[in-house]
């Protein structure tokens, strides 16, 4: 354990040196290769212990100490968190490339693309052309993205959704501890400040990933429970995503379907008839703006995707219409008008 903690400290020190120190002038290909080797070890530590609370806490404490001393020694030092260990190689690379002292020979190795001139560095296979490959990969994504439109949520959200599922599964562990997963989702939501709609899309993508194991099913269950406990995100999800995508989710997940129908009914009950416009409109502008037509479309898409739902929903709407007095005159009951809109 002691050795592990010492290594965690050394990893943080390496990142600090790479970004801020003039000592880099002395670096050669061998040093570069060793640095990346060490960074990979840091990533390994993260993967190995991120879901082990005891070790993780110890490592977090160790990092606090190391940060303190590094802050004192290096002006402008940025703290390294336990989570940062997962992206050690990236942080190392960012530090190196932004360090004006980085020897140009090192840059040549990193950007080498296997041309004859680079063969002299071929002993450092792991780092030769590292940046070149990263750039190729990012560029290839850009080249293909206009074509890869067959996914309902987009390739990027699909990947993020799958990663979310993986992470939730790991957090819950064998004991299926929902609490930790929910706590993690809360923290993600906080971090997504300003990009909440994107987060909703990723949640949808996570719910659409194939359930290959019981653990994944359990993770999707937790995700649905969390949505119900976080009405803001649920409402945003229902208004931001397309009707067909939501209907697809409703078809796959019972809990989501119930929550979704609940949101649709809330939208309807929040509407009042505007004589001026001759149409049902949302009363409170605080919630998202949903038109009567959009509401109808959501119900129709749901019926189309899950035909068995039609009877149940219509029965409920009829009951609500009854409670409104069961008039068949337009503009008196939102339920009555909704039913007639759904059946024309």
């Amino acid at each position: 354990m002691e050795t592990l903690l010492k290594n965690v400290s050394s990893t943080a020190e390496l990142l600090a040196v790479s970004a801020r120190s003039g000592a880099l002038e002395q670096w050669d290909g061998h040093a570069l290769s060793r640095a990346f080797h060490w960074a990979r070890y840091g990533e390994h530590l993260f993967r190995r212990f991120h879901s082990d609370p005891a070790v993780r806490t110890a490592m977090e404490k160790q990092l606090q100490l190391t940060n303190q001393s590094l802050r004192a020694a290096l002006p402008g030092y940025t703290d390294v968190s336990f989570c940062d260990l997962s992206r050690c190689q990236h942080l190392l690379l960012v530090g190196l490339l932004n360090n004006p002292e980085l020897p140009v020979s090192i840059m040549r190795i990193l950007f080498g693309s296997g041309s004859p001139a680079d063969t002299e560095h071929s002993e450092y296979v792991d780092v030769t052309g590292l940046c070149s490959h990263i750039i190729q990969c990012k560029s290839a994504c850009k080249v293909l993205s206009p074509l890869a439109d067959s996914s309902a949520v987009g390739a990027d959200a699909e990947v993020q959704g799958a990663m979310l599922m993986e992470r939730l599964g790991a957090l819950m562990g064998r004991g299926r501890e929902a609490r930790r997963a929910e706590h993690f989702l809360d923290s993600l939501l906080q971090g997504c400040d300003g990009a909440s709609e994107h987060f909703c899309l990723v949640i949808a993508a996570a719910l659409l990933t194939a359930k290959n194991s019981a653990a994944e099913g359990a993770a999707q269950d937790v995700l649905q429970d969390w949505l119900q406990k976080t009405p803001g995100v649920l409402k945003l999800t229902c208004s931001a995503l397309s009707a067909s995508l939501l209907a697809g989710l409703a078809k796959e997940h019972r809990k989501f379907r119930e929550a979704y129908c609940g949101v649709l009914k809330t939208w309807a009950s929040d509407m009042e008839y505007s004589v001026h416009e001759g149409e049902w409109v949302q009363t409170s502008t605080k919630t998202c703006t949903v038109t009567f037509q959009k509401l109808t479309e959501h119900f129709l898409a749901l019926f189309e995707t899950c035909p068995t739902q039609r009877d149940d929903v219509e029965r409920e709407l009829n009951a609500l219409k009854l409670s409104d007095g069961d008039f068949d005159v337009r503009g008196l009951s939102v339920w009555g008008d909704l039913l007639s809109a759904l059946n024309t």
Partner: protein
């Protein structure tokens, strides 16, 4: 480094052809357009121009490297910095291995190790900054905000997204055509052309390989499912540089779609086999099967026809080239083996593969000796010899009788095709030599005729009859040499050496004819090994054909190992080959082959006219 005064250096440089100024403006405008929007038109333009852009970058690079300083370069080409800067942000350019590599090399060319003024210092800073941004800048902040707490590093994330996109596109392409032949209806095939164009810069990107595989292997069911020519060119180019990792079937599809890529593959096989003088039959076999061409030929008749056409014309240009002949034989052998491995329902009839060959000879020649009992070989060969003899006599009859030239050339054509088939199926020639080396002095006329025809297909100057007499004479002499149990007298050996040396006056027998016979006699005769070794060693050494003899031995070994010799004699033969090989290897090590007559053996040019 240079001792020339700077003035002279400058003068020399002004004479350097510098890349056209107008051209950089042309490319600059293009980059502005490419950087502006993603539309199918841009993609098409990119796929069309990418190769030209690389060669322009290559020119620029040479130019930059020839100038003494960055200051100098900037003065000569003021637009260069702007141009390279724009290139960095065009994904089509940075996705393409070649262009990206050249772009980076140009940037490094502008980097001054010891900057001497503000311009150079600024250029250095700019290069560092641009490269850092290219590597670490993230377009999608929202995605990164999510990935960070999930412990997914950006590189891993991008790789996953790329693989996902490739998988989605691959799935889409795998869908069958939905228009059912209705030209006006939209169908999934519409995306094929666009996808293939997008893959032009991704030809060598390993992550895109599954998509490229899927594009190539898509059955051509719809008129709109055409692949972009530039895509095929890019793949062909990458494949010839061995920068491509495609599935076997995808490679076959590439050859099927692109004639030029097939030609390149065949020619490079020919070149790699025939320029390598030390090439053993084993090595040749390995190269042939690694080229995947025999397998592709067995699966797609159209590929075989093209490959065979290339072989045919190569053979016409150098009919006496033993190397080309061996390659064709080994290739055909591999092809026949692959063909036999195919399920019967997938197999096209042999006739379709050999439409120009004499049909009566096709099955008898393409049958492998191992597919026939050994006792039947002689009879089979006699029949083959007789048939070929009749064919040549029929065609050569009118020759020189003032017959119309068209019928003469048709006759030549038929003889050539018969001979070409014999070269392709030269396993029977090898069996002929083996039998000649084993047989006692019975009737070996037909076998000698077959062997003579193989080595001397044209009856130019009506020399065939005379050549046959020579052949019989040579065989008699060899037979005697390899029958006696005492050491042969010197003059007999010397006369054999003379036979092996090329003679200025026609008609003489090809040295490889005699060499093949000698080697087979040495291996198969009942003479004690020491005697045969001595004869072969002496003759081969004096005529400078050590390497060729070693080659003939390994070729023989290869054929026997392949299973066409399964007699009780096999073990004895095998031991004799090994021993002879050892002797020759030692000789080869001791003697420099510099003065050998190898070139006369491998480059005998006899032309069909």
């Amino acid at each position: 480094m240079s001792l020339l005064p700077p003035v002279i250096q400058l003068q020399q440089m002004t004479e350097e052809p510098s890349p056209n100024v107008q051209e950089i403006q042309f490319w600059l405008d293009k980059m502005v357009a490419w950087g502006r929007a993603d539309s199918p038109n841009i993609q098409r333009d990119v796929s069309l121009h990418l190769r030209r852009l690389s060669s322009y970058l290559q020119q620029l690079l040479t130019h930059i490297n020839n100038l003494i300083s960055t200051t100098e370069t900037m003065k000569r080409m003021p637009l260069l910095g702007q141009f390279l800067g724009r290139l960095c942000w065009i994904p089509y350019v940075t996705a393409d291995d070649t262009s990206r590599g050249l772009l980076f090399q140009c940037l490094w060319g502008l980097y001054s190790e010891h900057p001497s003024n503000a311009v150079e210092r600024k250029a250095n800073q700019w290069i560092r900054k641009v490269l850092c941004q290219l590597t670490t800048d993230e377009d999608d902040a929202a995605a990164q905000a999510l990935m960070k707490p999930m412990g997914v590093p950006p590189n891993e994330y991008h790789l996953k997204v790329l693989r996902k996109m490739v998988a989605l596109l691959q799935e889409n392409i795998g869908k069958s055509c939905s228009s059912l032949g209705n030209i006006n209806q939209r169908c999934s095939c519409d995306s094929i052309l666009a996808a293939s164009e997008a893959c032009v810069p991704l030809a060598t990107c390993p992550e895109a390989a599954p998509l490229i595989d899927a594009l190539l292997q898509r059955p051509a069911t719809c008129v709109r499912a055409a692949l972009s020519e530039d895509f095929l060119d890019a793949l062909s180019c990458a494949y010839s540089r061995q920068n491509l990792s495609l599935e076997e079937q995808a490679v076959f599809s590439l050859w099927h779609h692109s004639l030029s890529s097939l030609e390149v593959a065949v020619l490079s096989l020919l070149e790699s086999v025939c320029t390598n003088t030390g090439s053993t039959p084993q090595r040749m076999l390995q190269q042939v099967s690694q080229s995947l061409l025999p397998k592709a030929c067995a699966q797609q008749c159209s590929i075989f026809l093209v490959v065979n056409d290339i072989f045919r014309s190569t053979l016409k240009q150098a009919e006496g080239n033993e190397c080309v002949k061996s390659l064709i034989q080994i290739f055909t052998n591999c092809f026949l083996t692959e063909l036999a491995l195919l399920q019967p329902q997938k197999c096209v009839s042999l006739k379709a593969f050999f439409p120009q060959s004499p049909q009566s000879l096709l099955v008898p020649l393409s049958t492998l000796p191992s597919e026939m009992p050994q006792e039947a070989w002689e009879h089979h060969l006699n029949w083959l010899s007789g048939s070929l003899q009749r064919l040549t006599e029929d065609e050569e009859e009118g020759d020189g009788d003032g017959d119309s030239s068209s019928s003469t050339s048709r006759g030549h054509h038929r003889v050539f095709e018969a001979w070409f088939l014999l070269v392709q199926c030269a396993h029977w020639v090898q069996v002929t030599v083996q039998l000649l080396g084993t047989k006692g002095p019975e009737d070996c006329g037909p076998l000698l005729w077959l062997l003579t025809f193989y080595h001397h297909p044209t009856n130019r100057g009506h020399h065939r009859a005379l050549q046959l007499v020579h052949a019989k004479d040579a065989w008699d002499r060899l037979h005697t040499l390899f029958s006696v149990s005492t050491s042969p007298p010197f003059d007999r050996l010397q006369s054999l050496v003379t036979l092996l040396s090329p003679q200025p006056q026609q008609p003489s027998l090809s040295p490889s004819f005699i060499l093949g016979l000698s080697v087979n006699f040495a291996v198969f005769s009942q003479q004690p090994l020491s005697g045969s070794t001595q004869v072969l060693q002496t003759v081969v050494h004096r005529s400078g054909l050590v390497e060729e003899a070693a080659c003939a031995l390994s070729s023989l070994e290869l054929r026997l190992n392949a299973g066409s010799c399964s007699s009780s004699d096999a073990n004895r033969v095998h031991l004799r080959i090994k021993s002879l090989q050892n002797t020759l290897t030692h000789m080869h090590a001791a003697w420099s082959p510099a003065e050998s007559q190898a070139h006369t053996l491998t480059h005998t040019h006899i032309k069909f006219n």
